[in-house]
Amino acid sequence: MTTTYIITDNVPAQQKTLGRVIIFIATILLVALFLIQILHKTNTITLGFENWRPTLYAYLLWSIALCWGILLIKGDRGQRALFVLPAFLFTIAMVIFPLIFSVYISLHDWNLSAFEGQKFNGLDNFRALLVDEYYWNSMLNMVYYLVAILFEYAIAFGLALLLNSQIVARKFFRVVFLMPLMLSPVAVSWMLGKSLMEYRFGPAANLARHLGWESPAFFSSPEIARFSIMVLDAWTFIPFMMIMLLAGLQALPREVLEASKVDGASGWQSFKEIVFPLMLPVSVTAVVIRIIFKLKLADVIINVTSGGPGGATDSVTSFIFREYRDRSNVGYGTMMAVVYLIIIIILMTLMLKLIDRWMQKVT
């Protein structure tokens, strides 16, 4: 959606020149400082700063100069560019540069606790990764965790339907149902994982004993531990999908639902034939966003099981976290992360393409 504002391009030539000069000077300054710092760090020259912080300030200065210069050169057009430019420069600095840097790190044998510093070792990290059982095991765990989203989705849909039906105190229930989402995963790992589900005194364990499970150890056998982590994560994130689905339900056209009631369709039928198909686009959005969040899953695992028993609950993120924390192995850890990112990008692109095609066929 765009408007056709009248663009008056009446910037004086003098002002344009000034703008160009400002950008030019700032660029020279940034490049010069960068080069000096590189030379200083490689011990070619003594001139330079102790750390890279001044280069950061130079980038900041350059960004301001760039915005100002564009404003001077382009006039009205510049004013518009200024809306997007700050966020753009920020993201470039914070993502693109570190990403390139991460590829550089991943090709090195780099241990932060070792004295000898980094050493280029080409694809050695990658070769090590290919045969790293624990890495692929954590990848497999991610598949299990992703499958759990289907169940979360079913529960979230059920809750959304409940909240959307004719009930009193709807606002109360909505606030209560949303509550788990507000709690920090770290606190949740203690509240649920380490005390409620604690083997000796936890109420959940006591309840399980009452129900006939003799030794309710939620985190000692691989399958049950994985399931418990899924439950903890689901508890926090079900409200997230629930709210999206609820918004979708509330936006459904009333007439369609009424019409289906008049036709004598039963509750289940009207859900299957009308509500569910109409909710497909919302469902897809909710599930896709949930997948994105699930791929980052780590906090609960790090704090409750540390990946155990025997790596059965490890997510890729928690595995890399420990690789760094226990071994300071930055090079190998980064290689694992980069490979993870590449896999994610490929799968997400494929998934979105498939969904697109599928949605076109359905609707």
Binding site: M1, T2, T3, N51, W52, R53, L56, D76, A81, L82, F83, V84, P86, A87, V95, P98, L99, S102, L112, L159, L162, I167, F173, V176, L178, L181, M182, L183, S184, P185, V186, A187, S189, W190, M191, K194, S195, P203, N206, W235, I243, M244, G267, A286, I292, K296, A298, D299, I302, V316, T317, Y324, R325, V330, T334, A337, Y340, L341, I344, M348
Partner: protein, 302 residues
């Protein structure tokens, strides 16, 4: 669906009652699942070791509440006016969290709203890059798992002397929530009728004047929604904080996590700490729930 099978046999009245019971039963059951852990945590902070091991649940009925958990944090009525190193440590982490999450959210909402407005109103063209590409560039950041950035940032921040600094954390959190802000705000701006802005332009304002005077006041609720969502995400963030901070800039989740390991049966102090860590957002959740719902509903309905 049991309710349905009754539909054909019994009278509508009975059927309705059973239907209601099922609905409210399900609602109450889930409400219990949501609230019990919170209830458990809060009450446990008042329990002595005996009450914990015996699984006492109801205060005054089967155990006498004591300020035991909050005393260990230096926050109970008797200790609040005394000097307490634990309390100092706790307050430092608490305010670190407040400063980090609020600043990051403000930064992200500012940058994100501007970008979202630009992208929803103007046509940009830079070589082959168009609006949709810029939008994709921003939104695609969402799928970037934190772990990919974590280690490079660790090395970079060390070189930049930003390790264990609040500023460094603020920038990272702002980056993390920026796509969400852009997503929400683009949706918000597209609901504002363009005629309003055209009227402003006719009155002699430039595009920034229009944005500040006309668009900003209208879209303010949307910004609050985005802000609160950012606040929730950055308050609860643990992964980056655990990797990049140690002594000075450590946030509350890191403190909570570092205490969980070796406490044994010292549950009351963990419970008190958890209660204090979740309280701010729980309160926000109760009072500003409609904004959170608004923020999360973005994109669900087109």
């Amino acid at each position: 669906m049991d309710a349905k099978s009754y539909m054909n046999q019994s009278s509508p009245g009975v059927n309705l009652v059973i239907y209601r019971i099922l609905i409210y039963g399900a609602l109450l059951f889930w409400a219990f699942l949501c609230l019990f852990p919170i209830y458990w945590t809060i009450t446990t902070s008042f329990k002595t070791a005996v009450s914990v091991t015996q699984g006492h649940l109801i205060p005054w009925f089967d155990f006498t509440p004591k300020w035991i958990g909050f005393r260990s944090l230096g926050l109970s009525p008797e200790t609040i006016f005394q000097i307490s190193t634990v309390r100092e440590e706790f307050l430092k982490r608490f305010f670190n969290s407040v400063i980090t999450s609020v600043s990051a959210s403000v930064l992200a909402v500012m940058l994100g709203s501007l970008a979202a407005y630009g992208l929803s109103r103007f046509q940009y063209k830079l070589g082959f890059v168009k609006n949709s590409d810029i939008s994709f560039f921003f939104l695609s950041q969402m799928i970037l798992p934190p772990v990919v950035l974590a280690l490079p940032f660790l090395v970079l921040y060390r070189e930049l002397a930003l390790l264990d600094s609040t500023i460094g954390l603020i920038m990272l959190y702002a980056l993390m929530v920026l796509p969400i802000v852009i997503w929400i705000m683009r949706d918000q701006f597209s609901t504002i009728p363009i005629e309003l802005e055209e009227a402003g332009l006719v009155d002699g304002l430039n595009v920034w004047g229009v944005f500040m005077r006309i668009v900003l006041p209208i879209s303010f609720p949307g910004m609050v929604a985005a802000f609160i969502l950012c606040l929730v995400l950055s308050w609860n963030e643990y992964f980056f904080a655990a990797l990049l901070t140690s002594a000075d800039a450590k946030t509350l989740p890191v403190m909570v996590a570092s205490q969980t390991g070796s406490q044994g049966i010292n549950w009351w102090s963990m419970a008190a700490l958890s209660t204090a860590a979740i309280a701010p957002l729980a309160i926000i959740g109760v009072f500003l729930e409609s904004y959170i719902v608004k923020g999360l509903s973005t994109g669900a309905v087109k």
